[in-house]
């Protein structure tokens, strides 16, 4: 059902009786051409583009719980394409361009809001690195601007410019960056995919992969066996668990990342801001909550909950950057399971098993990548060739010595 201004008015006047389900809850069919494991943002986006842009049929998305219940429903909603390395920047810029057209594409208001993102720097070394990065962004067709302290003070007068332990020396801004209403991304793609015939199967957990003669045949699920031509894993933090069903070990560790929201406040922060001398980034939602986060807790975990020291570390950094936050109250903290890869960059690739595909290793950058990840994964599934912006995201890059290490910390996932 198309959403339109007229429709909204009509429904309002007739008690909203006309609104139908945003997506169906069909029974599983015996088999599908494409089975996508994981009803998160990436899985739903993949299904949507596979059906809409590549015209594929007989597609199912299998979700062990409720769709959008993973990291797309548990993140700090930031979109940006301020990456440095050749392997990454074109992909994330492509993703940002897809965000820019998302509402019209989906006929669903995911509240894509290009409020801008500002990364602060506090040392000459950081400045040099940001200059290199900003140049890489521009040379890749993205936008970037280097701001001096006065320009930052004008926009964020309440940052600590007076008494800071690590004085702000400038910042790298991407004005096209911003935030998106995260749940709506899952719902919008689900509604779009459903309207193109994709079966979204909730409470359908994959318990096994049926592989014969080196080729995938189907998946065992909590709702029975489902045959499949191609099976595409897209389960973020659960990547290792699903791929273990095919005896595949990954260059990935699962770590918990916490995020936080404050009580609702009248507008404070116009855009997204990132502290360069500690672990803190923050934006303000349309409802008025300050949405912020910092570093991962730092140890392997599937527990979806964090520990107090990380909360304190984030809030210490928050107070160091914005001393006026002292009397704002942290309302809720939550933890998501991140698929931290060995170089901090993702993987979108085929596996050595015919018909089995893998998408993962998003670390905590997965949300902003949702549209491009879906499009590139759909491209790979439909054509068996990588999308031009995702050619570097290969499984064997570590064996070949082709790491894509933005942070330069090496094979230690908890440092990326």
């Amino acid at each position: 059902m198309k959403y339109s201004g007229l429709r909204v008015i009509k429904e309002a006047l007739t008690g909203h009786r006309g609104w139908g389900p945003a997506w169906r809850d069909p029974e599983p069919q015996k088999s599908y051409d494409y089975v996508i494991i994981g009803g998160g943002g990436h899985g739903l986006a993949t299904a949507y583009y596979l059906a809409k842009h590549f015209g594929k049929k007989r597609i199912a998305v299998l979700e062990k719980g409720w769709i959008g219940g993973g990291n797309v429903g548990r993140n700090t909603t930031i979109i940006r394409s301020n990456y440095l390395l050749d392997g990454n920047e074109p992909f994330y810029e492509y993703s940002l361009k897809l965000w820019e057209g998302l509402e019209q594409e989906l006929n669903y208001n995911a509240m894509v809001s290009q409020r801008g993102i500002l990364n602060l720097y506090h040392s000459d070394g950081q400045r040099d690195a940001f200059v290199r990065r900003g140049n890489a962004m521009i040379l890749n067709g993205a936008d970037a601007e280097l701001l001096d302290v006065d320009q930052i003070r004008a926009r964020y007068p309440f940052l600590d410019f007076e008494n800071a332990r690590f004085p702000i020396k400038g910042g790298l801004a991407q004005h096209r960056g911003g935030t998106v209403r995260h749940d709506a991304v899952a719902w919008g793609y689900a509604r779009g995919a459903d309207s193109h015939g994709v079966d979204i199967l909730q409470n359908c957990e994959v318990t096994g992969l049926r592989i014969e003669a080196g080729a995938i045949r189907g998946v065992e699920t909590s709702r029975g066996y489902i045959g499949a031509g191609k099976v595409a894993s897209c389960v973020a933090g659960s990547s290792s668990r699903v791929m273990a069903l095919a005896d595949i070990r990954l260059p990935i560790e699962s770590h918990v990342l916490q995020a936080f929201v404050s009580e609702g406040l009248k507008p404070v922060l116009p855009g997204v801001i990132t502290f360069g001398a500690g672990h803190f980034y923050c934006s303000q939602s349309d409802k008025g909550g300050l949405v912020f986060g910092g570093d991962i807790d730092g140890y392997n975990s599937y527990a979806q909950r964090g520990n107090l020291p990380t909360v304190e570390d984030v809030c210490e950094s928050g107070m160091a950057l914005i001393p006026a936050l002292g009397r704002a109250r942290l309302l809720r903290m939550w933890g998501g399971v991140m698929d931290m890869s060995m170089d901090g960059s993702p993987i979108i690739d085929r596996t050595h098993i015919d018909g089995l595909y893998f998408n993962g290793g998003w670390c905590y950058g997965g949300f902003k990548a949702t549209p491009a990840s879906g499009m590139c994964y759909a491209h790979l599934l439909a054509t068996d060739t990588p999308h031009e912006t995702a050619t570097a995201y290969r499984l064997d890059r570590f064996r070949r010595g082709r790491m894509i290490d933005e942070k330069g910390v090496g094979a230690q996932p908890n440092l990326h």
């Binding site: 995911a110 040379l139 404070v268 909950r305 704002a328």
Partner: protein
């Protein structure tokens, strides 16, 4: 204004008056009041506006679960948005303002939203505001943002300070109601180390709000006596005004103590709040229960509150929302409210009980089997409309309505480690599940034991069981007598009849209709319901509203309530000030400051300092007349290259490596060989990560056969030490090698320049020959200076000049820098800072932080040959991977601009002179750049594809970010003295 709704009795001190203002209006209350109770006593029912529709709202509860009565407390920099009037202790001079209304609380222009409520239903935003695309950021969103949010921040720096601390106990008891006090008495009398925490300023929990007797005394008095006894035990720590905000792994609890919030301002030196991390062996949750409302049409008018809260205001705070009230209930507990208020002389118009067989109640009309179908009254309740058992309608006049839908055990903390509550049909509520956090038990109403007797008993029993587990003999005391009324309840969630909206989440304005719409649109999982309608996402996290939403979704889906399940309870239990979680690590004290031995002296010289990690280092030393940093830095560089300069290099990491296998160990951690390094010599070492990427570099000196001193870069001192311990303990556990950091034990100065030796010869004691022959380049050894002070001398050079580093025990560092300056006068010795150091190392093409960026290999640094293939060293194997050894691999080279005055930009990208300027044609980038006063030109070093073969080639250096596009020539990175004659002089 008089306290017209103040009742007799209560736990307030009428001998003292406290003056306060609400929206500028002056009122009076008493010690013991909360802001809410004082306002109620003064006849104020309207206290706030709702989030979305700006509906007038009054107090709903008497505790921290309050959704409606939120105010901006205090003013100026201390303004606290969204403060619950129900927990704010009254103090003299308290200032409070209502929120989210304009121009005033009684007339709020935004209340117009309420007229458009048909449009603003759940999910409305997702369906509209899409046309035209560009309007979202420009028009719609700004309007929405302006309207949204509740209170506002002052945006001034918080003037208060906050502490963080650690506590340890055998047993943490959360909640000091009957169960908690009973448990604390049992554990305290048994000698266990107990902490009893309660969020309230008065311990006793519901005992303070009820009229029950315990033994022969009033409950409140029994509580006071129990607290007094506990106070006398030095093994018990009583913590009122302390909210346990979360339970974390392995028995660690977070608790926030409000030290000064009941005072106008904190006392000098004292903090506003303290975050306690409590290490517990066991924890007992006695957090009681939270009453839940019943949804019916227009159930949100000021004056409609929970029955238990109405009772608490009357009994504890001697306040009533109106002189004539009614009660609407589905259980016996609601009747208590009627009885208690009547006892206080308040007229109770009727008790409306949905149960046809409701028990009689004396002196008050009981309307059994009746339901409230609507209410009326502008800005406050005037009438309630009923449907009676016989089907007739009836209107009752009353100024307040106490509503009771039953009680929910407060299971919040049992779920912080993903535990799920279980449904108990006997009380139609969720109780703690079996998957409690490690070491946690639950007692009293929190466990579903609702009567006072049951609470006292389960508290004592649980405490005794825990003590048994801990091997402490429990004290066996008689259990006091108390009421033991059973729970009689008929599950009832919402009145289906009635045309007006029935509210579930009063702060976020979520109605029964919204839940129905979510169901209709297939947002049926509880998480979808919550996210689509925002039910339970307000500042109260749905403490009074979630159950209603679940029950209605269950109805619609034809499922049981446990079948629908609950959303996840997450910390904190109540919102926590960011300042409290930040503690003292703020402003200049965000991180510790590390000062170098010459810090005080450098400050005297007027040095400009720069952060290097936590270190503060002198960046340059301005001289009178120098107006630009470049003047100072150029002078310092010329001085070093022309005569001699001194620089504090203490910050470089120093690790003492000893043992018979010390050399073999260094051979493992360095890519190049160290086994054959002679005693008394120093060698440059290249340290790789196991993935073949450069981790760090530095010089290591061999002081004896079995004794080395390794230097690391300032930034990597800690990670390198950790890595060395890993190699020692985990990879080569039988190597005889011992490690310890000595970074700060020695004050170390670089003495560099043609006159460096002459200067040092003036302070090194005569017995030591440091001539070029006796002490050549890369020599090292122990010496004494200034008449016998032990020191270490290294002939190493970062600047490329004849240079030494001299180290003395740190306490003599200040004296040594002064001595060097005095002794060096004849050479015009010049102190130089990190900038000049940087310029000189770039002139020499030495790699530093900008070059060692975590992606560079030895090959990139043109040190590929240093990676020995004849031995096993960390990183040597994986450095052989093809992708790290491509023919066009990046190589470190130098760049000279075509015009010397053209700035070379670090971070600029290199492009072929002809051809497009885009990422696809990137040839490399500049890592470091500076102005060289020696070459009288800007210079840079950086990485260039196949750099080694491209000397003399002309390239474009582009930095669109800084608007630069110049021509540069590729040259060797060794701009100055490539043969190294100077440093061997």
């Amino acid at each position: 204004m008089s306290q017209k709704n103040r009742l007799p009795g209560g736990q307030i001190d009428r001998s003292q008056n406290l003056d306060f203002t609400f929206d500028g209006k002056r009122f009076t209350g008493h010690p013991g009041d909360t802001l809410a109770s004082a306002l109620m006593a003064n006849g104020v029912r309207l206290m706030g506006r709702s989030f979305k529709y700006h509906r007038p709202r009054g107090v709903l509860t008497s505790g921290s679960e309050e959704p409606n009565a939120l105010v901006e407390l205090r003013s100026g920099a201390r303004q606290e948005p969204n403060t619950r009037a129900t927990t704010a202790e009254l103090f003299d001079g308290l200032e409070a303002r209502s929120q989210n209304r304009w121009p005033s609380l009684t007339f709020d222009a935004m209340a117009v939203n309420d007229r458009f409520s048909n449009f603003l239903t759940a999910g409305f935003y997702y369906k509209t505001f899409m046309w035209p695309a560009a309007f979202w950021e420009k028009l719609y969103e700004p309007i929405i943002r302006k309207a949204a949010g509740l209170g506002s921040l002052s945006l001034e720096e918080d003037p208060d300070s906050y502490d963080k601390g650690y506590l340890h106990c055998d047993l943490l008891i959360v909640g000091a109601g009957p169960a908690g006090l009973s448990a604390a008495l049992t554990a305290g009398r048994s000698g266990a180390r107990v902490i009893l925490a309660d969020e309230d300023f008065a311990m006793g929990g519901r005992l303070n709000a009820e009229t029950f007797a315990i033994d022969d005394t009033a409950g409140a008095e029994w509580a006071a006596a129990a607290v007094a006894e506990l106070h006398g035990m030095n093994n018990v720590r009583l913590m009122p005004r302390t909210t346990v905000i979360g339970g974390f792994d392995h028995g660690i609890y977070g608790a926030v103590e409000r030290v000064s919030d009941h005072l106008p301002t904190p006392a000098p030196g004292k903090s506003r709040q303290i975050l306690w991390r409590v290490y517990t062996r066991r924890a007992l949750l006695c957090a009681g229960a939270i009453e839940r409302p019943i949804a019916f049409a227009n159930n949100d008018r000021p004056g409609i509150l929970l029955a238990g809260a109405m009772r608490a205001y009357a009994n504890r705070w001697a306040a009533t929302p109106a002189q004539k009230v009614a009660v609407f209930t589905n259980n016996d507990d609601g009747h208590r409210t009627a009885r208690d208020l009547m006892a206080k002389g308040v007229r109770v118009a009727a008790v409306i009980d949905v149960r046809p067989d409701a028990p009689r109640i004396a002196d008050c009309e009981l309307l059994a089997g009746a339901q409230v179908i609507d209410t009326s009254g502008r800005l406050g309740l005037s009438f309630v409309k009923l449907r009676q058992a016989d089907g007739s309608e009836r209107i009752i006049e009353c100024g307040a309505l106490g509503v009771s839908g039953g009680w929910n055990p407060n299971v919040h903390l049992t779920c912080h480690q993903r535990g799920r509550p279980a449904w108990n049909p006997a009380i139609s509520a969720f109780v703690p599940g079996t998957d409690l956090p490690q070491g946690q038990s639950v007692a009293g109403a929190a466990a579903g034991a609702f009567s006072t007797h049951a609470a006292l008993r389960s508290g004592a029993e649980q405490a005794a069981a825990i003590l048994g587990d801990l091997g402490i003999k429990p004290d066996k005391a008689r259990l006091p007598r108390a009421e033991d009324a059973p729970v009689n309840i008929q599950p009832f969630w919402h009145v289906t009849e009635g045309r007006g909206r029935a509210w579930l989440d009063q702060q976020n304005d979520v109605t029964v209709k919204d839940v129905k719409l979510a169901h209709q649109e297939n947002f049926r999982s509880v998480e979808h319901l919550k996210r689509y309608t925002t039910l339970g996402m307000a500042t109260d996290q749905g403490k009074t509203s979630n159950m209603g939403g679940l029950a209605i979704m269950a109805e619609l889906a034809g499922k049981s309530i446990p079948g629908v399940g609950t959303t996840i309870f997450r910390p904190p239990y109540t919102p926590v000030a960011m300042g409290t979680l930040g503690g003292r690590a703020r402003g200049a004290h965000f991180h510790p400051v590390r000062e170098t031995p010459s810090h005080i002296w450098a400050r005297e010289q007027g040095a400009v300092f720069v952060e290097a990690g936590n270190w503060l280092r002198a960046q340059w030393f301005p001289r009178p007349g120098e107006t630009h940093w470049r003047q100072s830095v150029d002078r310092e560089v010329r001085a070093v290259r022309g005569s001699v300069g001194v620089c504090d290099v203490t910050t470089l990491g120093k690790i003492d490596v000893q043992g018979t296998d010390a050399a073999a160990f260094l051979n493992k951690v360095y890519a190049n060989g160290f086994a054959k390094l002679a005693v008394g010599k120093t060698r440059y070492g290249l340290m790789l990560r196991e993935d073949g990427i450069v981790m760090d570099d530095g010089t290591t000196a061999r002081l004896a056969e079995d004794h080395f001193v390794m230097t690391t870069t300032t930034a990597n001192a800690v990670p390198v030490y950790r890595h060395l311990e890993f190699v020692r303990q985990c990879l080569f556990p039988d190597m005889d090698v011992q490690l310890i950091s000595t970074t700060e034990a020695w004050a170390q100065y670089a003495v560099a320049g043609p006159n460096a030796r002459k200067l040092l010869q003036k302070i090194v004691d005569p017995g030591f020959d440091i001539s070029n022959e006796a002490f050549p380049f890369m020599a090292c050894g122990a010496v004494t200076i200034c008449g016998g002070l032990r020191a270490r001398l290294f002939r190493i050079s970062f600047s490329g000049e004849l240079a030494y580093e001299i180290a003395v025990p740190t306490r003599y560092g200040d004296a040594l820098i002064r001595r060097l300056m005095a002794a060096g006068e004849e050479f015009d010795v010049t102190p130089y800072g990190t900038e000049a150091l940087g310029v000189m190392r770039i002139e020499k093409g030495h790699a530093a932080g900008n070059e060692l960026n975590g992606t560079t290999t030895a090959l990139n640094l043109r040190m590929g040959r240093m990676v020995s293939k004849k031995k096993d060293a960390i990183g040597s194997t994986l450095s052989e991977r093809a992708g790290l050894n491509t023919p066009d691999a990046l190589a470190l080279v130098g760049f000279l601009p075509k015009l010397p005055e053209e700035k070379v930009t670090a971070g600029g990208h290199l492009m072929n002179r002809e051809g497009p300027l885009d990422a696809k044609h990137d040839q490399g980038y500049v890592t470091s750049a500076c102005y060289s006063p020696i070459l009288n030109s800007h210079i840079g070093i950086g990485y260039l594809k196949s750099g080694s073969e491209r000397m003399g080639e002309r390239l474009r250096l582009v930095s669109p970010l800084t608007g630069q596009n110049i021509e540069v020539e590729v040259v060797s990175a060794h701009f100055v003295d490539p043969e190294g004659d100077r440093l061997r002089a």
